[in-house]
Symmetry: none
Subunit: 204 residues, 4 copies
């Protein structure tokens, strides 16, 4: 029944998907939907929560604990791309629809996002510590720098996931996408740690 909701909401949008459609898609009668999920808003919330939980769970399960930080990040990204590719409706629901319809829903996915960003932040911090052990003149990163990188990384990942779900099959595989992203992000991190970050020095 939630399946029907996710699918309908993802494909038609919250307003366009009617409760009739959803009930029919689920193969049950409309009042039954109301019995289990009190209202359209509640149904939408329930769908979002389920998809958010599924996504977080998938990413968590994909992460190779006890591996080096970069490897953990890479495996997490792989898991993320694999899950969004396998559940395009769920991803659309979270990343497109939930954001489109005001506060209660947007907050719901914002919470999930924060969770992921924090996880990435910790990985980056761990990587920085690892790096510090190995390299001599490593500098310490400010919190905002780490957080900035994490946000950018997550943002780029979301973008790639959107692009993959655009319907054109034959795009990059989940692991390829993850590798592409690591190429950019990890290099940036390394440079930053060695004091070779990019800066608009030429400005007054």
């Amino acid at each position: 029944m939630l399946d029907a909701g996710v699918r309908a909401f993802a494909r038609s949008g919250y307003r366009n998907a009617s409760m009739d459609d959803i009930a029919e898609l689920a193969g049950v009668s409309k009042p039954l939907v109301y019995l289990y999920l009190n209202s359209k808003e509640d149904l939408f919330t329930a769908c979002i929560r389920r998809e958010a939980a599924a996504l977080v769970t998938a990413v968590r399960a994909a992460v190779e604990r006890d591996a080096p930080a970069d490897r953990q990040l890479w495996s997490g990204l792989s898991g993320f791309f694999a899950h969004t590719a396998e559940h395009p409706d769920g991803w659309t629901l979270l990343h497109v629809q939930a954001r489109t319809h005001g506060q209660p829903y947007a907050r719901e996915v914002a919470a999930m996002r924060t969770e992921i960003v924090e996880f990435v932040t910790q990985l980056i911090a761990a990587a920085a510590r690892e790096h510090a052990r190995e390299a001599a003149r490593a500098r310490t990163l400010a919190g905002t720098e780490v957080s900035g990188l994490a946000h950018a990384l997550v943002g780029a990942a979301e973008s790639l996931a959107d692009r993959a779900g655009d319907g054109r099959a034959g795009g990059p595989s989940a692991k390829e996408a993850a590798a592409t992203l690591m190429n950019f992000a990890w290099a940036g991190l390394g440079n930053l740690l060695q004091g070779r970050g990019w800066a608009p020095e030429r400005i007054g």
Copy 2:
């Protein structure tokens, strides 16, 4: 009058924003809205077009022509973040709402996005050429690599712009966001050019 449309659509979504609301917000009567913009769909299209044009214009104006490629990219990003921060409703309209409601609108912003991605692609290619002049053992980038980088960069920028418009003031300034992104992407470009990309195989 378009202002009212942009604001209402951005905040309530296309379906939820009623023509009554928009008319009231614009301080005019509903029939007047229909007199100037023939239908709700036309109004939506007009809003999207205006905001897309404004954004592209702003970015174009911000780019420092004749500067080195990285500097051009940075100034363009700064302009982008400055504009989206100053016009959060316009940005939401383009990036969230227009994508949510079917083909005609999505195509409109897809065109704008393509324009920007191509611009970034050219900058990256130019940077690669500059780099080739300076560094000895620079390798040539494949077209897909450049394009991949451009997409990731634009995607990350969009994400950061979203975050900035979330309403929580005190986020990073436009220039800081641009610098973060440069750090994220430019280093990746450099590493790629020197054949030092990240790859999962290196790890256990």
Copy 3:
């Protein structure tokens, strides 16, 4: 200006014809229409009155006074068919549109119709008197009989006029239509006068 009204009302119907259409058709601005004819209802009424007057005038002018009654009737019918064929919009306005939209307008054309029916009634009565002078055993007609014939005659004439205006050119000419009608009506009158009317005698 009334021309435009007649045409628009006849072709689109009272509700479908908008004041915008009419003003544009008349080549003037809408407020001007309101200046001369206070409202849409007044405009409609004015159109009906004009067309009714024109029709009655045309029929009156066509009647050959001082001729025998049958000849008068025939010439009147000819005039009627000629006028309705030449002014199909006017005829539609009177016979279709005015009847469709409630009391005030329906009454207007009912008055005109009454006038015509009375005229026909008098002609029939005159014919009866003429007949009485010529034929020996003529019987006197009851008022209801005369009136019934007049009504039927006028009704049949209206029907033929409708059929003629249906757009298929090449129908019978006005004079032919009038002759056809005379064939039926006058014979019926003659038979009645000679006591050879049709009656359901066989019923109990």
Copy 4:
């Protein structure tokens, strides 16, 4: 529910009768009307079809098969007048409203009318054959003459029915109206068959 539609449409006209009015008249809520009859147009069509079928059925039932042709015609006319007098709204719907509002509806009643005209045509032809058996020097009628007579007869009948439905009680009864019409038309037929038609040339 169709009753309400017929009544509202007949009295107010298609455009003037609002779905609110109809729903209220039917004692149900507006959405229910839309549930059963999909749109105003469909409701109108359904009303027309029902009334047309009812009228045709009533006329068919009234005709005394196996009686002589004139008797059949008379009984059919009686049935027609009786039905229209008993269902004035239905008659108005068919004869006034359906004709006023464009092709799909007009066609619907045109079909019914054709059916009736053809029935009358056959009766007249049968009468001519009967007449030929009895009278010696009967001439054969051309098809156009028969058809013209049928059209005129039906047209006159329609007109008389309109008059009866005008609301003024005390008009002629159904049988009287039928007799009047028979007098009007049957005599014409007889004269025609005997070559004694009326023609303008006979006069001065």
